[in-house]
């Protein structure tokens, strides 16, 4: 899991441009899946027969895209103006290294020497920020980049203490779980949906679910962990290192309450540490899947990710295997969910 996750996080797939991630996953899963198709949106949909048929259509979903930037224009001096693709707090962008394919750049930040007293107290808006790719002129920049290109955070997955830091853990961690389950062979017949544009508003999941028509979907995700200084009690939402999260609810979905309780029981019986989400925030593909066509029951399993949607998103290494085991156990109990 750890190695696969690191590999997946190295690939760039900003929301709306998931091709490289999709190519990698397609090549990786093709030997194991019974069928692999890509829909018009770019979702990668794989079917795999399991040890048995559960009598229901089961869908696992993880999104391939990550938050990032999109180049909107090139200034006369050869700097790039950009917008965000997915929810990013502008604070984390200043001075951040980014890459547009092979082109390296940095989000410019004014050195303290140049700031007025007033400017020191405020943050610039995204509109006023720019990416510096070291171009000598507008013409020089245009040779390397064009408006519409996507920029991803440029960093290498790094282990520190008990944590793995990497961009795009949300949701390559979900992709890694699905891939491993495909390789090891699922307990029941099921669909594996690697979706696009989740960070743009759950846009890929709807057509994916429309095609698959699941009775039950388990969305495998990364979710906000607030176990950091200054955050107390319920506001922590969830805690890194305490096992996978089974959310009851987020801003887009109320996961089926009966399934949530059963999933917690299954985890407890199997001795898998897990936690619920103590603060309602965020949203997942379940919001779209649950309402597609005649509707579907949904359940979520997520890794607790600190600093989510930043270049330094971090997951506890110890949470990865239990997360995989939990998803596998839930599939094994598909008839009881």
């Amino acid at each position: 899991m750890l190695e696969l996750l690191q590999t997946l996080c190295r690939i760039d797939g900003v929301s709306g441009c998931e091709d490289a991630v999709c190519d990698y996953i397609r090549a990786w899963v093709t030997p194991y899946a019974d069928s692999v198709t890509e829909d018009v949106m770019g979702n990668l949909l794989c079917y795999k027969k399991g040890v048995r048929h559960s009598g229901r259509t089961l869908m696992l979903a993880a999104h391939m895209d990550e938050v990032g930037l999109i180049v909107t224009s090139i200034t006369d001096d050869g700097f790039l103006r950009f917008g965000t693709s997915g929810g990013i707090d502008e604070k984390v962008l200043l001075g951040t290294r980014v890459r547009i394919g092979d082109v390296r750049g940095v989000v410019g930040v004014r050195a303290t020497h140049l700031n007025t007293l007033e400017e020191e107290k405020t943050l610039p808006e995204v509109r006023a920020m720019y990416i510096d790719i070291g171009a000598a002129s507008k013409e020089d920049a245009e040779k390397r980049v064009q408006p519409g290109d996507f920029a991803a955070f440029d960093n290498e997955p790094t282990l520190y203490g008990d944590m793995l830091k990497a961009k795009a853990i949300d949701d390559r961690v979900g992709c890694a779980v699905l891939m491993k389950l495909l390789r090891e062979g699922p307990p029941v017949d099921m669909w594996f949906a690697f979706t696009v544009q989740e960070e743009q508003g759950l846009r890929g999941a709807r057509p994916a679910a429309y095609r698959i028509r699941p009775d039950l979907a388990i969305v495998v995700e990364g979710t906000t962990a607030g176990d950091i200084p200054g955050v107390k009690g319920a506001m922590k939402a969830c805690v890194a290192g305490r096992g996978p999260v089974i959310p009851m609810m987020d801003s887009a979905t109320l996961y089926d309450p009966v399934l949530v309780q059963r999933a917690l029981e299954i985890a407890e019986r199997a001795g898998i540490p897990c936690q619920t989400k103590t603060y309602i925030a965020g949203g997942t593909d379940a919001g779209a899947i649950s309402r597609t066509a005649g509707g579907a029951k949904t359940l979520g399993v997520a890794a607790a990710v600190r600093y989510i949607h930043t270049p330094a998103s971090s997951v506890a290494v110890a949470d990865l295997e239990p997360m995989y085991t939990l998803v596998r156990m839930l599939c094994e109990n598909a008839e009881r969910l």
């Binding site: 009775d215 009690g233 319920a234 506001m235 009851m248 609810m249 109320l254 089926d256 309450p257 949530v260 309780q261 917690l264 619920t276 989400k277 103590t278 603060y279 309602i280 649950s290 309402r291 597609t292 066509a293 005649g294 509707g295 579907a296 029951k297």
Partner: protein
């Protein structure tokens, strides 16, 4: 049908958004003698089908109420919550609530927070030591009662359900009608779209509460008054209703159009299903969306009459 008794019975069932089973179980019993088929969809919406050879119509009414879900229980037993439906936090302080397991509580709030800064995260439920599990849901524990022609209730969505029940019981035409008591209405009308998919009807009418503007210094632009019969909003929360369908209903005797700025409507969810659904709202004027809502029985009865004429 006795509206007051029906609404009181339904309103006293604790069944907030996502936890509708307690109320759909009772609704299914009440519908059974009149239905061809009754099913529950994956989100928990109760679909009651009355078969007919004529035109297909979907009628919807959200059967949930707003409420809270327990997300965290601190060392002293105070319960932190998530909102099931947008609450007005300041209106919730001091509110008695009841969990589905019967546990009762009172909502308190963190000290040191100014009223204008109050958010749901500052609220907690004091259950006086009684047990609640994380994931349990609760709703306002207040009585529903009549005062003259008015009904006062913390669960006024159930009045919309009563209108659907009334129509179901009295409809004798040959139309093919699905009555959907939808789940998760207070979470943004989430139950509407799957219900419309299942019903596969070309037209849908959502029975909903429409914000009344007949109160002091009301900011509602439409000046809807209680007791003047059903309202036909041309737009709800920025979603336009189908004007052709509104005209059909007007031909049945209603002339009160309005614009409703409120958000939680089924309208948006109904329209985009399959190849598109002609949808509008038949609104019952209601005052106050904080805790207790006031609406008129005569408006509910006239809404039922309108639907019976339109089917």
């Amino acid at each position: 049908m006795n509206y007051i008794e029906t609404i009181r019975e339904l309103a006293e069932i604790t069944a907030p958004s996502g936890f509708e089973k307690a109320v759909t179980d009772r609704l299914a019993e009440l519908c059974k003698p009149y239905a061809s088929e009754i099913t529950l969809d994956p989100l928990g919406t109760l679909l009651v089908h009355k078969k007919g050879s004529g035109k297909k119509t979907l009628l919807t009414a959200a059967c949930d109420t707003s409420g809270f879900i327990a997300t965290y229980i601190d060392d002293d037993g105070f319960v932190r919550v998530g909102e099931l439906g947008k609450c007005i936090p300041s209106a919730c302080v001091g509110l008695p609530v009841r969990f589905q397991n019967g546990t009762r509580g009172v909502i308190g709030c963190d000290g040191g927070v100014e009223v204008k800064d109050l958010r749901a995260r500052h609220l907690y439920i004091d259950t006086m030591g009684e047990t609640v599990r994380v994931g349990d849901a609760c709703a306002a524990d207040l009585p529903t009662y009549a005062s003259g022609d008015s009904i006062v209730s913390p669960a006024m969505n159930r009045a919309c359900c009563a209108v659907l029940l009334d129509v179901l019981q009295r409809y004798t035409g040959d139309g093919d009608v699905t009555f959907a008591f939808t789940a998760q209405g207070m979470l943004g009308g989430r139950g509407a779209s799957p219900a419309a998919y299942a019903a596969d009807a070309a037209r849908a009418i959502a029975v909903e509460l429409t914000t009344a503007g007949d109160t002091p210094e009301s900011e509602s632009r439409s000046k809807v008054k209680l007791g003047e019969g059903p309202v036909l909003p041309v737009s709800v929360g920025g979603t336009a209703a189908n004007l052709g369908l509104i005209a059909e209903l007007e031909a049945c005797g209603v002339t009160r159009r309005a614009v409703d700025e409120r958000g939680q409507s089924a309208l948006l969810g109904l329209q985009g299903v399959r190849a598109g659904v002609r949808a509008c709202v038949a609104g019952i004027a209601a005052r106050y969306s904080g805790v207790m809502t006031i609406a008129r029985v005569s408006d509910m009865q006239q809404t039922a009459e309108l639907l019976l004429a339109a089917l």
